[in-house]
């Protein structure tokens, strides 16, 4: 029990509950009305998944700067497939996922074969994808595609939006992957200590490629959520996702050096960031303040992580 209280996840959960309750009271319980709750959770789905996409590469001590733009690119591509190529929605969804995974795989292979740091590789692919994203349909907007997919994007089960449930399911799978599968554990081992991993018969290269591929795949999932939930997509999608993609795992207690992940922490942190967003909307606060707050919280989380490490790690 005492150990549970001391975890980062517990702190985050406590802050989330208190923050949510405070906001509910401050808005005269407007927050709890069906419409507001629905919007709250629907818009939480993408930050959650994108945070997990970043977390997967952080697990091996890498960063993926291209996650946001890749989400936009995959969204545009699948919309194009449905609108211009008249492909059925399920195929367009699969294509978005495959495209995301493929770009991720490419990131991974580039990192492994060129030995260039992932930060730089993904900076490059981010720039390339930025161009490609506009190449799909210029500055135009796609809308009016597959009513079926739109319906799924707006549907709810027991008042909970389906897209949010989907994001939760992704989180559960991610948690299971890192906790229980051989690949997931090897990934963490490689991130935690690549030398020991190599001497334990684990291929660090394989771990790097896998992490980047999964990160790309999750960006594809985020793209599907965008397409389904928003009803219209244009080439600016993904521009504002880079900071949130880092904010969620970092606030969530994921180690930047690799080897330690927290799915629960990442999800809770995404929730907190969403809470800040909603506060901004409810009280009509200048949008820039929100970025400032999130930026400050990220910095604070890193500093807190350091302090925690010093308190618990340095023993003997």
């Amino acid at each position: 029990m005492k150990n549970l209280v001391r975890t980062n996840e517990f702190t985050l959960a406590a802050v989330a509950v208190v923050g949510f309750a405070t906001l509910a009271v401050a808005t005269d319980f407007n927050l709890l009305t069906a419409g507001t709750m629905d919007a709250f959770l629907s818009f939480l789905a993408v930050p959650m998944v994108i945070g997990l996409a970043q977390m997967v590469v952080l697990a091996v001590g890498q960063m993926n700067l291209s996650v946001g733009v890749l989400t936009g690119f995959c969204a545009m591509a699948s919309a194009w497939l449905m609108v211009d190529a008249a492909l059925p929605a399920p195929l367009a969804v699969l294509a978005a996922l495959a495209l995301g995974a493929l770009v991720g795989l490419l990131n991974g292979l580039l990192v492994v074969f060129t030995r260039i740091n992932g930060f730089i590789v993904t900076l490059a692919t981010m720039t390339v994808l930025e161009g490609l994203r506009y190449g799909v349909h210029g500055t135009g907007t796609y809308q009016g595609y597959s009513p079926g997919l739109r319906a799924v994007g707006q549907a709810s089960v027991l008042g909970i939006p389906v897209v949010f449930l989907l994001a939760l399911a992704v989180a559960v799978v991610a948690a299971l992957f890192f906790r229980r599968t051989v690949s997931g554990r090897r990934l963490l081992a490689s991130g935690g200590n690549p030398f020991a991993a190599r001497l334990s018969g684990i291929s660090n290269d394989r771990a790097l490629v896998l992490a980047h591929t999964l990160s790309g795949l999750l960006a594809g999932v985020a793209a599907v959520i965008v397409v389904a939930a928003f009803g219209s997509v244009n080439a600016s999608i993904g521009d504002d996702l880079l900071l949130p993609s880092f904010a969620a795992p970092i606030i969530g207690g994921v180690a930047l050096v690799g080897g330690v992940v927290s799915v629960t922490g990442t999800v809770l942190a995404a929730f907190l960031v969403r809470l800040v967003d909603v506060t901004q909307a409810q009280f009509d606060i200048n949008r820039r303040w929100v970025d400032l707050i999130i930026g400050a919280v990220v910095l604070g989380a890193v500093l807190l992580g350091r302090a925690r490490e010093r308190l618990t790690g340095g023993a003997r």
């Binding site: 599968t181 554990r185 935690g192 200590n193 020991a196």
Partner: protein, 508 residues
């Protein structure tokens, strides 16, 4: 003799552990003071308190000043350094790309007009190196030095701030006998100049050769305080450390079958690391000791065997069949060869992960069902090996980083036993490990051989090699210069080994 450093009733508590429990240390000028104790007795904690890395929870530290002993409170390591307490930690703390001189002066680089004053850096470094009477070029980059030279640079660095007290934590752990002798000659000279040296080492032979007084720690308390070393025998010191009468372990005698087909053969092997014409064979149930000076290429040979360095000529045979080993995974899964590294912290363990994960890392696939690793099977595995190897753990979920050195080494070994290897390469199994755990390790290794495992034992500890090995291959300059059948007569064997090393020197 005047007391220069006095630590009284120091207390330091970490979550769940009282690492120091009113420990006392009194050091006089001009003496070498041995600080002894088993792993986990609190030596490292004490050193970290004396050097400002940690702050004590109780007790006080006094240092000699112009007006006698005065209490000091260090805010950090620099503070301690400035007050005249220099330290050489067990881990290297040099910047490889910087020159010797820059490393020595790193803590207080002299500046002129806001820029580095290179002339003064060099002069200051030269002064420190001269104090040690060693011949190292201050302008040479540290990356090009030998381990022994780096150790001397570390000492020069510790002296650069006019240290009155110098703390040396396992200074000879990675040095050969000769290099250690030279290092201790330097230590003696420093004492003659009035410095006080506190020496932590697991090598009792060295302690008795060089130290004047001794403090023994056990479970965070001082069980002997600044007593003259000459008044004690080696056995008495060990008893003090262990806390009960210590008996030399009688190892179970083994008789490996000399006609058995070797499990591992190296035939005229050459590697990209520089080995040439290496011929070795290990039979099941046999321990082959691979002895040599540090830098003779023994660990590199092990790594070449595992596919981490390229084999350029010759042949490796596993159970009689020519084997091309690509990587450790290949060695492990196809050929059942395991490698226990000498750097358990850097290469052997995932310190930020649980003991369970560390033990099962090699066998997750075997432990999984429907693609998921069974946690219960993993825990059972850990319990089994904790029991077999005597690993003291609070829970399988404890982080590997929280274990003591000896227990970490056992975990690092456990993962290979779990993987069911028939050939085990063990590299320096007992470096930095206390006497009792060391004996347990020796018994363990012998036991593994007794069960039919073929063991290649790489060790720089000659007594250890003579205790354990059936045959001893001696390596020098990336070649095997001779092989001896071990008759376990320490005196005769050690002379034969040394002669082999020297013979090669004359021939070269």
């Amino acid at each position: 003799m005047s007391v220069v450093l006095s630590a009284e009733k120091l207390v330091k508590t970490f979550p769940g552990v009282r690492a120091l429990d009113e420990a006392t240390l009194t050091v006089s000028a001009g003496t070498v003071h041995a600080l002894l104790g088993e792993n986990g007795a609190g030596k490292s904690t004490l050193i970290k308190l004396l050097t400002g890395v940690y702050r004590p929870d109780g007790g006080h530290i006094r240092l000699a000043g112009p007006d006698g002993l005065r209490e000091v409170r260090f805010a950090g390591p620099q503070d301690a350094q400035r007050a005249g307490v220099g330290v050489v930690h067990q881990e290297r703390n040099l910047i490889p790309a910087f020159s010797v001189a820059e490393n020595i002066c790193l803590q207080h680089l002299p500046r002129r007009n806001g820029l580095l004053d290179r002339a003064r850096i060099r002069a200051e470094a030269r002064r420190c190196l001269d104090l040690l009477e060693v011949d190292i070029d201050p302008d040479a980059p540290v990356s090009g030095l030998s381990v022994a030279q780096m150790q001397l640079v570390e000492i020069a660095k510790a002296l650069s701030a006019d240290s009155k007290v110098l703390l040396l934590d396992e200074p000879t752990a990675s040095l050969t006998g000769d290099e250690a002798d030279r290092l201790y000659a330097v230590v003696r000279r420093l004492c003659e100049r009035g410095h006080a040296v506190v020496l932590v080492s697991h090598k009792l032979e060295e302690i008795f050769a060089v130290a004047d007084t001794v403090t023994v720690l056990r479970d965070g308390r001082s069980v002997a305080e600044a007593e003259p070393l000459a008044a004690h025998t080696r056995g008495q010191i060990v008893d003090l450390m262990v806390g009960r009468a210590y008996q030399e372990v009688r190892l179970t005698p083994r008789t490996p079958d000399p006609t058995a087909e070797p499990a591992l053969v190296l035939a005229a092997v050459a590697t990209a690391a520089g080995h040439h014409d290496v011929n070795l064979a290990v039979r099941p149930g046999e321990i082959l000791g691979l002895y040599g000076l540090v830098g003779a290429g023994r660990s590199e040979l092990a790594k070449a065997l595992l596919g981490l360095k390229q084999i350029t000529a010759g042949e490796v045979r596993v159970h009689g069949k020519a084997a091309r080993i690509r990587d450790v995974g290949d060695a492990l899964r196809r050929h059942r060869i395991g490698y226990v590294t000498e750097n358990r912290k850097e290469e052997g363990l995932f310190l930020s992960q649980t003991i369970a994960r560390n033990t099962a890392v090699t066998v997750w696939r075997r432990l999984s069902r429907l693609g998921l690793v069974r946690d219960r099977a993993e825990r059972a595995l850990v319990a089994e090996y904790a029991d077999r190897l005597g690993i003291r753990l609070a829970s399988p979920d404890q982080l590997a980083g929280q274990l003591s050195g000896g227990n970490q080494q056992k975990v690092s070994l456990a993962k290979w036993l779990a993987a069911d290897c028939d050939v085990l390469i063990i590299d320096e199994p007992t470096v930095g490990i206390d006497v009792r755990t060391k004996a347990a390790f020796h018994e363990l290794i012998t036991g593994l051989a007794g069960q039919g495992m073929a063991i290649l034992l790489i060790s720089s500890d000659l007594p250890e090699t003579v205790t354990l090995a059936d045959r001893i291959a001696v390596m020098r300059d990336f070649a095997v210069v001779g092989e001896l059948v071990n008759d376990h007569e320490y005196h005769r064997m050690s002379q034969a080994v040394i002669r082999l090393i020297h013979g090669a020197e004359e021939a070269a």
